[in-house]
């Protein structure tokens, strides 16, 4: 499975079994707790300061029986990574890049060679001091074909592993094949956690990193334990330890939370019925990660009738994203207006065409597709897919578009339906810097280009943007790229949804955005 859907590949395990089961369960639970039908979800995560110490118990969906702690792998046990390792740079709460292991970084005048200056006094869990050799080794490990890292496809066109230089123990020099002013943002990916020099053979089991926690035990698709690393460069974490448990079934996970067996459901988007039950419990509550999921209805631009840009425009004008947010998310999200760059991203632009069913009808007529009838595929892979499809179907009716919603099997959805059927539902996690987003999902020929959209002018625009060293000008170019995608691309982006995370009422200092999770600050009250 691709990195983009990384956490999603877990929900497939839950989705298939839970499908019917969770429906019954949530119905039952709702009935029993007497929760009303109106959404009464808390809007704030549990803030406040935690007590020092304690053990946090996290239930997570396992990736596969072949899970590994190697961050570069497609089968990494994602929930452990941020606790065990650090990257050179990470994404801050406002979407900007902030230092992690690199305290500073700068390009040459043409953004062709990047120099990273590493933090001093950082040690790995085995006591060794971090040097630039470790950082260079990490990049080579990702690029190594034997690793089969999903991030290799992104970095390989830019980096020649043989040309990486380490002039001194704290300096890493990365010469690029083509200029790229946004290069550091590519290193915020969770495949890019820094591992010790020469550790490729054992890293999948040892988990030796520079992170706030060190590994005590780990079993693929099973339980594991990490403990506070006293010598962490950023200070000791609040918690003494975290116990991870893998629970594949979504309703089993929420039962564990309700029964007080675990404190946090990691990387899980609860469906609204379950979320209401959890919020009504006196043991547990809900935290929202704002606009964390980016929902898409991709149209394959290589398949009729979507080869015609007028049809794609009509499909977008035909529906009202505000309606989809209201119906499919019960208001817990933001309308996307077909712009894939989330509102929280500093590069986001707000200009977009208005909802206009009459104009859509007119465009369809001109394209010779009056009274268009289409199949739209969904599955129980994610609880929002089908409500989103139905809301679209309902909204697009006014433009004379007839949508037949087809439900496909969840476990083969991403191998049989995604990028194969002309019209379907899918989602990504937000928190991807703008250049990475456009390069991976919209550029001609990229492996996750789910609409198979290919536009030379758009690619050229991207090239110009990433080579532009003037920050203001570059931001303008990425704004143009958004307009381009909204007007000509194949992806409909109805909305950004809040992720609903279930946690115990004892949890304090919970903070999560994009792919970032605050392992240092999280703790428990009364630990």
């Amino acid at each position: 499975m691709p990195d983009i859907h990384h956490p999603g590949r877990r929900s497939v395990l839950a989705a298939a079994t839970a499908g019917a089961a969770s429906l019954g369960a949530s119905w039952l639970l709702t009935g029993c707790t007497g929760a009303s039908a109106a959404p009464v979800l808390p809007t704030d995560a549990k803030g406040g300061s935690p007590d020092r110490g304690g053990t946090l118990r996290i239930a997570r969906p396992p990736a596969s029986d072949a899970e590994t702690l190697d961050p570069a792998s497609a089968l990494s046990a994602y929930e452990y990574l941020g606790a065990l390792y650090n990257r050179l740079v990470r994404v801050g709460a406002n979407g900007d890049l902030v230092p992690d292991l690199a305290e500073s970084w700068e390009p040459d005048a043409k953004a062709r060679t990047w120099t990273f200056r590493l933090r001093a006094g950082v040690t790995f869990h085995n006591g060794r001091t971090l040097t630039s050799a470790d950082a260079a080794y990490t990049l080579r490990h990702i690029l190594d074909k034997a690793t089969a890292s999903p991030q290799a496809a992104v970095l390989a066109p830019l980096i020649d592993p043989g040309k990486l230089r380490t002039p001194d123990a704290r300096t890493l020099v990365v010469p690029l094949k083509t200029p790229n002013a946004e290069f550091p943002s590519l290193l915020t990916h969770y495949n890019c956690y820094v591992i010790p020099d020469g550790s490729a053979g054992g890293i999948g089991r040892t988990g030796i990193g520079t992170g706030p926690f060190k590994l005590e035990s780990f079993m693929p698709a099973g339980p594991g334990r990490i403990t506070a690393y006293e010598d962490h460069w950023g200070g000791r974490p609040v918690l003494d330890a975290i116990d991870f448990y893998s629970v594949a079934d979504m309703s089993a996970r929420s039962n564990a939370l309700l029964a007080g067996q675990v404190d946090l459901l990691s990387q899980t988007n609860l469906d609204f019925a379950t979320a209401r039950v959890v919020a009504a419990s006196d043991r547990a509550t809900i935290a929202r990660v704002e606009n964390a999921q980016w929902y898409v209805l991709p149209m394959l631009t290589t398949e009729k009738p979507f080869t015609d840009v007028r049809v794609r425009q009509a499909m977008k004008l035909a529906y009202d994203p505000e309606h989809v947010v209201k119906v499919a998310l019960q208001g817990a999200g933001t309308a996307g207006w077909d712009n894939p760059v989330p509102p929280s991203d500093p590069a986001h632009i707000t200009a977009h065409p208005k909802h206009d069913p009459e104009q859509a009808r007119h465009l369809l007529k001109k394209a010779g597709h009056e009274g268009l009838t289409l199949d739209l595929y969904t599955s129980s892979y994610d609880p929002v897919f089908t409500p989103m499809a139905l809301a679209y179907q309902d909204s697009a009716k006014r433009a004379g578009i007839r949508i037949r919603v087809k439900t496909a099997s969840a476990d083969s959805y991403y191998t049989q339906i995604w990028m194969k059927k002309p019209l379907m539902a899918t989602y990504w996690y937000t928190g991807r810097p703008v250049d990475q987003l456009f390069t991976q999902v919209f550029r001609s020929g990229s492996s996750y280009n789910e609409t198979a959209w290919s536009d030379k002018a758009f690619d050229a625009l991207l090239d110009r943007a990433r080579q532009e060293t003037d920050d203001e000008r570059r931001r303008e170019l990425y704004g143009e790229a958004q307009t381009f995608v909204v007007e000509k691309g194949g992806a409909m982006t109805p909305m950004f949804a809040d992720r609903l995370v279930g946690l115990s009422r004892k949890v304090r200092g919970y903070a999560e955005h994009g792919f970032e999770f605050d392992y240092l600050g999280i703790g428990l009250r009364g630990a």
């Binding site: 019954g24 029986d65 996970r253 039962n255 564990a256 067996q261 476990d411 083969s412 492996s447």
Partner: protein
């Protein structure tokens, strides 16, 4: 009598052979290309073709079947495509955990439901019968995940007596699993007991209305003695098959309940394997389930023969 056993055993072996063919064909027919499903969406074409070769997907189906069944007869089910471990050992581990649940369930369900069924039969159309029959009808109609969820709500969430889910992996010891066994076993027992109660009740009513019970009563025997010595063996006879079928269902049909409780049993392994398209594991589990099914039925037939003199001699008189 010997020929009867031989005929039954022969039929059992034939059934097993047929089911092995069906299992093999069904697994081949799973939607989604096996190699891409196993490797995920990041698979390179090289990796896919290498895996197809490793799985011998380029060979004709009958050749692969012969390979597989030949290994299975020697207890060699191949290697898991996901974990790379021997399938036999892995399946055994999960099967052992499920056996723990099955054992407790059978003890609960069989003893409890036979007693209830007999009571209902003896008190036909009076309030104990109405109560037992209604409850068992409800148990039969409600799906097991609903029963399981209600049990979790009552005995894990509201009253924290039992764990709601198992947080251990498949290597957990019996001692670690024991507290978590009761709720799944109870959920399965409720669903399973309903059938046995109905069957036992009907048999008891039939037997109690029969001439030889009337004769025994006329001879002046106490009701207790009539029931235990004369009525019970005959009443149990038709119930045996229902019990056997339900025990067989336990072996394969616990997937839903095990997932609700995150119990590391064979049902959970089967579900994960189907999702990962881990063919050798799916085939092994399906074949083992078929064996359990056939053996349970065989045991029921032989048990019935032991209880019923007419069946025992049928081979000779015909």
């Amino acid at each position: 009598m010997f020929s009867f056993i031989a005929r039954r055993a022969g039929a059992a072996i034939g059934t097993l052979f047929l089911s092995s063919v069906l299992v093999f064909l069904a697994v081949q027919a799973l939607p989604g290309d096996v190699a891409t499903q196993v490797l995920g969406r990041d698979a390179t074409p090289d990796a896919v073709s290498a895996l197809r070769e490793k799985l011998k997907l380029d060979q004709p189906a009958w050749e692969r079947y012969v390979d597989w069944i030949g290994g299975a007869l020697h207890g060699d089910f191949g290697l898991s495509l996901v974990s790379g471990k021997a399938v036999g050992g892995e399946v055994g581990l999960y099967l052992g955990n499920s056996a723990l649940i099955a054992l407790v369930t059978v003890l609960f369900a069989v003893t409890g439901s036979i007693v209830l069924g007999i009571l209902a039969g003896l008190y036909r159309d009076r309030w104990p019968d109405h109560l037992i029959s209604t409850v068992s009808l409800v148990g039969m109609s409600v799906p097991e995940f609903v029963v399981a969820t209600v049990l979790v709500l009552c005995f894990s969430v509201a009253l924290p007596w039992f764990p709601a889910v198992v947080l251990y992996g498949p290597e957990a010891s019996v001692g670690q699993l024991m507290p978590a066994v009761w709720l799944p076993a109870l959920a399965l027992a409720v669903v399973m007991a309903a059938y046995i109660v109905r069957m036992a009740r009907t048999s008891v009513i039939d037997v109690m209305a029969s001439e030889y019970v009337t004769t025994a009563r006329l001879k002046g025997l106490s009701t207790w003695r009539v029931v235990t010595r004369h009525a019970l063996p005959s009443a149990l006879l038709p119930t045996l098959h229902v019990i056997a079928l339900n025990v067989a269902w336990l072996a394969g049909g616990v997937a839903v309940v095990e997932n609700v409780f995150n119990y590391p049993g064979i049902g959970k392994l089967m579900l994960a394997s189907v999702q990962n398209r881990d063919l050798p594991v799916i085939q092994a589990i399906a074949l083992i389930s078929a064996v359990v099914y056939v053996v349970c039925n065989l045991a029921a037939d032989l048990g019935a023969m032991a209880l019923n003199p007419k069946l025992r001699t049928r081979g000779r008189t015909r």
